[in-house]
Symmetry: C2
Amino acid sequence: MSKLQIKSPVPSDIEIAQSVDPVPVKQLADRLGILEDELDLYGKHKAKVHLSVLDRLKDQANGKYVVVTGITPTPLGEGKSTTTVGLAQSLGAHLNKKCFACLRQPSQGPTFGIKGGAAGGGYSQVVPMEEFNLHLTGDIHAITAANNLMAAAIDARIFHEATQSDSALFKRLCPADVKTGKREFAPPMLRRLQRLGIDKTDPDQLTPEEAARFSRLDLDLSTLTWNRVVDTNDRFLRGVTVGTGPEEKGKTRETGFDLTVASEIMAILALTNDVADMRERLQRMVVGSSSKGEPICADDYGAAGALAVLMKDAIMPTLMQTLEETPVFVHAGPFANIAHGNSSILADKIALKLVGEDGFVVTEAGFGSDIGAEKFMDIKCRYSGLTPNCAVLVATVRALKMHGGGPNVVPGNPLPREYVEEHLDLVEKGCCNLAKHIQNMKEFGVSVVVAVNKFGTDSDSEIDLVVKKALEAGADGAYPCTHFAHGGAGIADLAKRVVEVCEKPNDFKFLYPLDISLKEKIDIIVKKMYGGDGATYSEQAEKKLATYEKQGFGNLPICMSKTHLSLSQDPKLKGAPTGFTIHIRDVRASVGAGFIYPLVGTMSTMPGLPTRPVFYEIDLDPATGKILGLS
Amino acid sequence: MSKLQIKSPVPSDIEIAQSVDPVPVKQLADRLGILEDELDLYGKHKAKVHLSVLDRLKDQANGKYVVVTGITPTPLGEGKSTTTVGLAQSLGAHLNKKCFACLRQPSQGPTFGIKGGAAGGGYSQVVPMEEFNLHLTGDIHAITAANNLMAAAIDARIFHEATQSDSALFKRLCPADVKTGKREFAPPMLRRLQRLGIDKTDPDQLTPEEAARFSRLDLDLSTLTWNRVVDTNDRFLRGVTVGTGPEEKGKTRETGFDLTVASEIMAILALTNDVADMRERLQRMVVGSSSKGEPICADDYGAAGALAVLMKDAIMPTLMQTLEETPVFVHAGPFANIAHGNSSILADKIALKLVGEDGFVVTEAGFGSDIGAEKFMDIKCRYSGLTPNCAVLVATVRALKMHGGGPNVVPGNPLPREYVEEHLDLVEKGCCNLAKHIQNMKEFGVSVVVAVNKFGTDSDSEIDLVVKKALEAGADGAYPCTHFAHGGAGIADLAKRVVEVCEKPNDFKFLYPLDISLKEKIDIIVKKMYGGDGATYSEQAEKKLATYEKQGFGNLPICMSKTHLSLSQDPKLKGAPTGFTIHIRDVRASVGAGFIYPLVGTMSTMPGLPTRPVFYEIDLDPATGKILGLS
């Protein structure tokens, strides 16, 4: 039962968040039947849940699995996280179902840059929102440390190979022990020898030729894709020259930094099923090719074990709660374009066991159905073995007006008046975008219920029109939702319909099989999801696709890196365009995470700070310890 | 009473650490009388202790305060951390005193690079050593985030100032609100206006000239000292060119990365007394000067509040324990050359209250008495108001032989036989170094007890000789110690003497007053601590000293950045040299932390990875979750 005290007009997010007194997370865990040994507290309101829950509950039936996605949004976002939280609050506190929301951990970059936090908003939030938006339980920091240890290992090795003879290099890789005088291969070195087909375990038995093959990774620098990362919006790190210090002897190299959430290790965290699997994925991450065209992996640098050690706590999801005491898992937050943009498989799996057969897990997929939900189905569900019982599609009158020909929506500028006045014509015309996203979900055989996220400026006629159009397009339900203003109570109609829909049998299917060519997979996505005619490829892209298929990675799923602001590759093309092609500029591989990502256009993986970043308003009150100004 | 099961020969550090079952930290906190509201658990064996303990116990008398320092070490280190832990184990588990050890948090860089962990060794360790050496409770990661947000803010501002007109810049700094149309200054902007002497609070009232002065920080790039940081040994980041991406329009800049522990924010964490003080120190950090020579501080970028928010949990010390269940605070770990190399004031203060009048707090100062302990006295004690009751000086036969003319000790090479055979002549000759360090502590009016850290290869005659020489040099006691092999039991004689010495009245005095010139302070340190004749200065150093005195920072204490491998500036000059001068190459200021640091020679703030880093041995056992190979 909810104890939420609703005020009108809706106060600021941080005011609402700080007005409630969250239940101690230990108590929340008790309610969920989590045992003391399965819980690591991180202060009073966050805790990590051990993966051993999955063993204990392995015979427990899963709960119902609901994925939240959206139509093509305006640059302001249409409230997908808020809807995920609101729906969970409704199922939990109003319909009295056992329920979990599973959310991504946000990057700190936007928190201090332009966007502010990502814990939902209004009366549908995760609390304490300050904890959610800041360090949480350190998972992103662990990824930063692991990613950058890998980077340091790569550059140090390049340097050592460039400055040492074959024999010196081998001697330093396998030095004589200070006490025993004996030389020994470390375990990753034995694995590398196996990959090289050298069946020896004693360093002294290698021929000079074998020692040289073993010692020289011989990385072709033009193929090196491993960037360093920071969790800060630092545009001056987009492009950097490293090694300009005098001790690096002029061996400079052009590279760049991404936000930490763009690291392949983040994608691995989100897609892994257990510790052994994570350890294996970290080991097989490919950072580039040798000059002979062989893939060079993390294990060749001997770093995979250390990376796994750095990630040993991060693999456990973090338990938090909504404003209405619904349990929430916050875990992983991979980029939604160069990666798959979904929270972790492990959080979903543990939540599905904890809520049990009659319970519900609401998980969010990044961006619209063409990107986040497509990757949810074809990548995340493929690796987890789970399938959703229902998709919830978030739509707003604002975004639909934009798709119907309304003027540009620009962050930081006042909204043009088309968006604050009734314009049924624009809404009606824009509903083609909504219809396409409904159809997209149907492609996977999944039922879809539309959440019309109602703003104060939307007229009843506009809302009614969207509901009507959604049903006409084949939605299994469509409801006005006011969870921002009213919490779980504001989205109860939709929640009830979700419960009904989840009882129906499921006819889930992937969009494409894995055993066709990479190009065929891309072609299917472009045609079925985007409504386009197909794809064209740069010379570079053709070459990379051929390389990856030759290296044995042709059976991986596809993770398209495309703008979320249009179904096409052109952010200005609104509505539901047809008759276009997608141009693949380049192709990359996240072999450890397990996907190939074609780059459509240029994706920024490092935002900048505006002239007046939001951090100007953020402060810590020394008297109360309260955080001020976080939005 | 200790339950430690001692084996001989001594197993590896990680074997010993994993052989004990640490008491739950909640239980440890209960024993210390820490209230539930004052404790934030981070898993089962780490917890943060709230600063509110200090308020609750403000009328409680402090315990005795013992600082551990050392003679000039070999590059292998002489066991100062191990002695700190062993002494605390002895006082706590063997003499039944209430006792705390206060240690620095180690950087992850060396953990994965050359050195391995830093939790003590043998039967004198902090456990779980894996937690100690890895993420701990995230403090270093918080510093990385804060330091790099500051860096991003600086470079973004340089870019915005370089690419925008005065009026555009002002308009973007104070934009009209999207809804109300009103322009407002953020709180840090109002503080900047005050510093500029502009007594206005409404953006629309500023003259164009005032708006330009307000908007343009006009940073002189040649004075910018703020580096980015990572907690990884990444030599290719020592020197970097940032801004090479196409969107940064050719506005590249040469800069570099340091290890996170070299960040001024780390030094602030170690020297702060409460939240308000930390907030103030972050605000007044100086990053460079304007082209007119005025200092530019963090507050000019509006970032201090956000930095404080990022540091809000890091300010609380982390409670852990030794192998013998002695409580340990792990908190802050500033570099011992470019910063002051001591753990936090707050950890010491809370520990002194928790142990109470009859209890003991053992805290470690980095490097030898000439560096770490001098800074402990003149910087840390000056800011804390605390004074030590006793200093413990760690000496080894190995290091004394080196000072007596023994061959070079090189990490990674076998020890020359002079160090594993009896050589009384070398020991006797080397004791001049021991005598100088004893004398150094006496300069502060502090009693000093010598811990002769005994290795298996030391002969009894050698040990006896060191004890004799120490007493001749004025030590208040000197004892062979075998805490590495025997835990607290092996250092009980020394512990008993420490208890006695702490009963004596104290005659503490600083080495120098604050109200003399910076050069006079440097001169006193060189003469009294190093045994040198004085200092010479580069032109650059002279200029910087003049600037800092002109900017009003002449009253700060001095934090010498000098090699720890000699009392002089020449690492090869062993023993107790005289007749030398110190050359100050450059001078920098950590105004927020509160010291001026003269640079003697070049200090590396970013180690590299060797060809075979220790991470080759590190792995995570997926079956047990145990960490393997951490040393």
